[in-house]
Symmetry: C2
Subunit: 378 residues, 2 copies
Amino acid sequence: MSISRREFNRNITRLGALGLAAELLPSLTSPLLAQPSSRKIGYAVIGLGRIADLHMQGIHLSPNAKITALVSGHRDKAEKYAAQYGVPTSSIYSYENMDALRNNPAVDAVYICLPNSMHAEYTIRAAKLGKHVFCEKPMATTVADAQAMIDACKAANVKLMIGYRCHYESTNLAAIKLIREGAIGQIQSIQSAFGFSCGADEWRLTKALGGHGPLFDVGIYCLNATRYLTGEEPASFSAYAYSNPNDPRFRDVEENLVWITKFPSGVVASCSTSYGSNMDGYYRVYGSKGWLQVDTAFSYEGLSLKAFYNRDGVTESERTVVLNQPNTEKIPQQFVNEANHFTQCILENKTPTAPGEEGLKDMTYMREIYRSAGITMA
Amino acid sequence: MSISRREFNRNITRLGALGLAAELLPSLTSPLLAQPSSRKIGYAVIGLGRIADLHMQGIHLSPNAKITALVSGHRDKAEKYAAQYGVPTSSIYSYENMDALRNNPAVDAVYICLPNSMHAEYTIRAAKLGKHVFCEKPMATTVADAQAMIDACKAANVKLMIGYRCHYESTNLAAIKLIREGAIGQIQSIQSAFGFSCGADEWRLTKALGGHGPLFDVGIYCLNATRYLTGEEPASFSAYAYSNPNDPRFRDVEENLVWITKFPSGVVASCSTSYGSNMDGYYRVYGSKGWLQVDTAFSYEGLSLKAFYNRDGVTESERTVVLNQPNTEKIPQQFVNEANHFTQCILENKTPTAPGEEGLKDMTYMREIYRSAGITMA
């Protein structure tokens, strides 16, 4: 038996429409495909680097969202984006005067796209301005900062959502759906990796900006994936780290990290991350009745799912289902879906799929992984 | 730049002819492609299961080797193979009378293809008969037994070789060659897995026969691969095991095991094995200048190597080399090469590539992995 591409794509599309993700990811109750609203949510984008560029495209294409302000240390860059997205130049702010956002009624919420070490300060600052906060992952550089961000948003009665874009990405959602439907049986183990060779001039390599190394930046995708694939919270970790002592890039943060995870049900996972090598992000999930692979799994486009399993007790060698869901969207739909979701949460006063508490969990788990590898994280 | 298939295949073929493997795998000094000798080495095959069938094909196709005796508890099966390979029925033995092999001058050596728990007894028995011993991996079920096998073969002045067939497999050798040539730079980390869903009636699931679970049987391929890929001996391990308590197959041995390894140079590896899920054997090796993947890596046929790296300091995105070496041999050449190698060692009085000491190392490492996972191995 083989499911046709068309049939499979239809199933994927239905994921959102049927609200299936609600079962997959706790508290995701609004559909991914937003219905037009009479009101648009206005966003101030803070930090105008690479990830901001993608988020701005996502906001721009989201029916109920619009970019209404920009915060940057580079006026010329901000003016270029302002022209592109129709933001009045009067709504361009610097880091020094961004508190004036308080008095800008066109701004309901902020997107924080700054280096990791600045997430806490700017989240708390925005919350105090009465703005809802979308903050990139990792949500902070210390567990205490992550908790302070949650507390500040609660005190200000604003929403806090952490940027786990794979929660809104169709190939990952299809993998979760197959697993929850029992297609590959009971999960036994997971393998995952994600890494890249980091340029020597990147802020990520400076502890004062990045906080820590590749686990914080890309390994977190593997960690988070083992959680959304199993639907479980990890019970324990063990890890090794290694930095090439002759590579000047790794004076501040680790270069390579491998870790294993044990989940309460018994499921075991082995993961790798690196700032020294290009590791295409992937995961393989092995179950009692089959297995599936998403490779690449954490990219902006070109994701592919293959699942090998049997139905009706027929042995795998006799009956294999192979699904292919190449995701070739030019403007990554995951960013649009993510913007849709946060916007709907604001419009309908609902808790986001990945609130601050989701980010805090990963912060706590990363601290345990680092501790096992002999690296101190606050 | 791309290396053509033909050029690449020529390189592979030259591996043996140039004796390149000598540098890759310590003490492998004889070429994989054996030259005909005036004398043929005669083998008694002990145990006639699936792996014996492959070894017999390997011996049969090896120019200086022949099957001269069979030892089995199933006379009918032995007679079938005797007819196939021209073994006189007078040279069929049972386990009870196999000591009569001592007086069979046509038998120089034995191939031990029995369940793991019988390796030590039959290796020591064969050594006392004055026969060289080829023994399947894992070489024993306890470290003490492995040492006793080495001691017995030394005392009897016979050779002992452990069946690490990947040491003679062209795709694995091509991967080692690329690494040693520096194509992917300094190795940073390795990921590997190998597992299968074990039939409920297999001897592997009984501790008294298999000794332990999938690490012993298939995980050992990943463990050994991390060693031959790095050329290093592991410094430490950490592991988790999990057996589904509702699956009656796993009352005696573990179902799933994941582990991480740290090597003295700092290289880190993450590995998985299972008797509960079909994990196609693979490894990915990440280096400072690129990476390579062999998938499948431990099969009898259909192995494939892909390497992604740059030369001359050109960045990877600008210049990528992709090698493909599909191994589609119908009768796995690795078994022929393995028989060639052991035969040449006997003919030329040389130490095999993988002597008892190589098997003992993996036994010791597996005991450390099990210890970390809370499983007692003697």
